[in-house]
């Protein structure tokens, strides 16, 4: 019979001893948090992600980037740091020459005083358009930074919401199929096969064709098409765990199916589900960006990193690169930080000796 390998701590514990081991008792999550705290890269990523989330919430509440849609600058206004070097090149030279007066032939001339009066009465304060913004303006003179922040809010929200939907569906399905087996498994495997028989992008296109653009639509599309990965994972885990001895022991003492599924097994796989959720967030943000780029994502009156990139494409040929840079760098920073955080999280939850 094989001797089961005990963990290396065994060496330190004298099996015959009745002395009290050190009085610490941390569960998985507290241990993981302790490990995460020691991971410098992980902590930095956590802070960066946190900043974005705070900015996103602030944007949603209207505290920042509220007026992103206001056309406050001249079209394609360059960024401030660039404008300084461009200097006089921005000024339009006035032409020399006199201005002719047409008062003698102007039919409205008698009414001029009246018109002036009306103009003063109905005066609309029009703010002058600024020439530069901190990171420039787009074709319609909107602030690129504000758009990027608003876009962050939308893209991150969509990614997160879709990830939660997909993870929820996949976990429930996977749990039912893996734990119960039998007919439930057969039916769910059939559903899984149907969804995976269609290549992913195509499935997204089908749903997009039917549901049209819109934030809720994107979340639904990504959520309903993306659950298959976590389903596979959770199902395999439930199959693995349901014949483990601690579950058999639970059966032996009389615990019911629901108890075994949710109270016993689920806490043992929740860390895997969490990592999968994080991977989904990254994947769905990138998917949303592409969908929005193609016009299948967020509605026209909204902004996302994807719509920014859409505009950026034609701007680049004109030499205006700042919207592209803003959208790309915001997205790159967030996704990199989130990916590194996911890696750190995975290491913290399931450390292996390196």
């Amino acid at each position: 019979m094989s001797a089961i390998e005990p963990p290396i701590n065994e060496a330190a514990i004298d099996p015959a001893s009745r002395l009290d081991p050190a009085p610490r008792s941390s569960g998985v999550w507290r241990n993981a948090w302790k490990r995460l705290r020691q991971d410098r890269v992980g902590m930095v990523s956590l802070v960066v992600v946190g900043i974005f989330v705070v900015a996103g919430i602030g944007s949603a509440l209207g505290l920042v980037a509220r007026h992103w849609a206001d056309e406050i600058a001249v079209p394609y206004a360059p960024p401030s740091f660039l404008a300084a070097t461009l200097g006089d090149g921005l000024k339009i030279e006035s032409t020399a020459g006199t201005v002719l007066s047409i008062d003698s032939v102007d039919p409205l001339e008698p009414k001029k005083a009246e018109i002036d009066q009306l103009t003063i009465k109905n005066h609309q304060v029009e703010k002058p358009l600024v020439n530069t913004l901190p990171f420039g303006a787009d074709r319609r003179g909107r602030d690129v930074i504000e758009k990027a922040i608003k876009g962050a809010q939308i893209s991150i929200f969509v990614g997160l919401a879709a990830a939660i939907v997909a993870t929820f569906i996949g976990t429930v399905f996977g749990g039912l199929a893996g734990y119960f087996g039998g007919v439930a498994n057969d039916i769910l495997e059939w559903v899984y096969n149907v969804f995976t028989a269609i290549p992913g992008i195509l499935l997204i296109f089908c749903f997009a064709a039917v549901l049209g653009p819109g934030i809720g639509s994107v979340v639904t599309i990504l959520g309903l098409t993306g659950w298959t990965g976590v389903y596979r994972l959770v199902r395999a885990e439930y199959i693995k765990h349901r014949s483990r001895e601690y579950v058999l022991a639970a059966t032996a003492i009389g615990a019911g199916n629901l108890s075994r599924m949710f109270v016993h097994i689920l806490p043992n796989i929740s860390h895997i589900v969490l990592v999968q959720l994080s991977l989904y967030v990254v994947l769905f943000i990138k998917s949303e960006v592409i969908l929005s780029f193609l016009g299948l994502g967020v509605p026209v009156d909204s902004v996302s990193w994807g719509t920014m990139l859409n505009e950026a494409q034609s701007e680049l040929i004109l030499g205006k690169w700042w919207q592209l840079a803003a959208a790309t760098s915001f997205m790159a920073v967030f996704v990199t930080a989130f990916s590194l955080l996911t890696d750190a999280l995975r290491d913290a939850l399931d450390p292996k000796l390196r």
């Binding site: 269609i198 039917v210 680049l316 590194l340």
Partner: protein, 312 residues
Amino acid sequence: MGSYLIRRILQMIPTLIGVVLLVFVLFTLFGGDPAEIIGGLGATQQQIDSIRVQLGLDQPWWVRLWILVKQIVTFDWGKSWATQEAVSNIFATRLPATLTVMIPIFILDVTLAIPFALLVAYVRGSLTDRSIMIATTVALSISFLVYIIVGQWLFAFELAWFPVQGWTDSTWTNLKNFVPLPVFLAVMVGLAPQTRLYRSFFLDEIGHDYVRTARAKGVPEKTILLKHVLRNAMIPILTNISIQLPGIFVGSFLIEVFFSIPGLGRETLLAVNRSDFPVIQAVTIYLAVLTMIINLLADVMYKVVDPRVVLK
């Protein structure tokens, strides 16, 4: 083997039925009213109704389902709602363009990722490994769109090394002029995730006991990696390839859109934008069948790669 194939083919039938049902339910119940869309904003109720009759939308759902099944079996999808082009013709003319671009991408992706991943696995744990991992993480955080936008702008527009867009009827001309830039960009972008994935396969295998036995035998590290580990890692690599293979038929629609390549991907995207249901339905169902066939082939291939597999 024969009975295994028969059993697998029989198993494909319920899946295929499911796909058809999914497509049907999706487009019929949730699809909105295409007659209105096609009629346009100014159409009268009469015009919309007549369009509806024309498209067969006034029939009860079971009739429409039956029509759908007939269309699948006879390969006759009628005409595109938008362009009136026969759907089968769309397939025939667009597929070659997609394949001309995607096959080189696919082959290059796989053949380049394996040696890269082997190299990275060889230097695992070192500074090189860590920096490559961080570099790929950053590279992956930038959207594919950006690479194409910048790449197209830089190499075609600014440097004029390649044409910006274009396509001809001659495959050879296409391969020479219009394929290199898209393929280059797609492979560059695809290499990062592929390499990371294969690296994880290799590292997984390296942790197994048989590697320790090989070391105890005195086998050099390089041989261990190239012979023992690679051979075992081919199993998950093969799985990965078989999952990605169906995707090349839809093509990278982004590439096709940016470079105006008249392929199936771009066609599908146009169909989505125009609510051209017959085209989307046809592409979906045929690709589903293709995916199932590819999966079956992959499973049979497993027997070659993994001697433990027993096909029952």
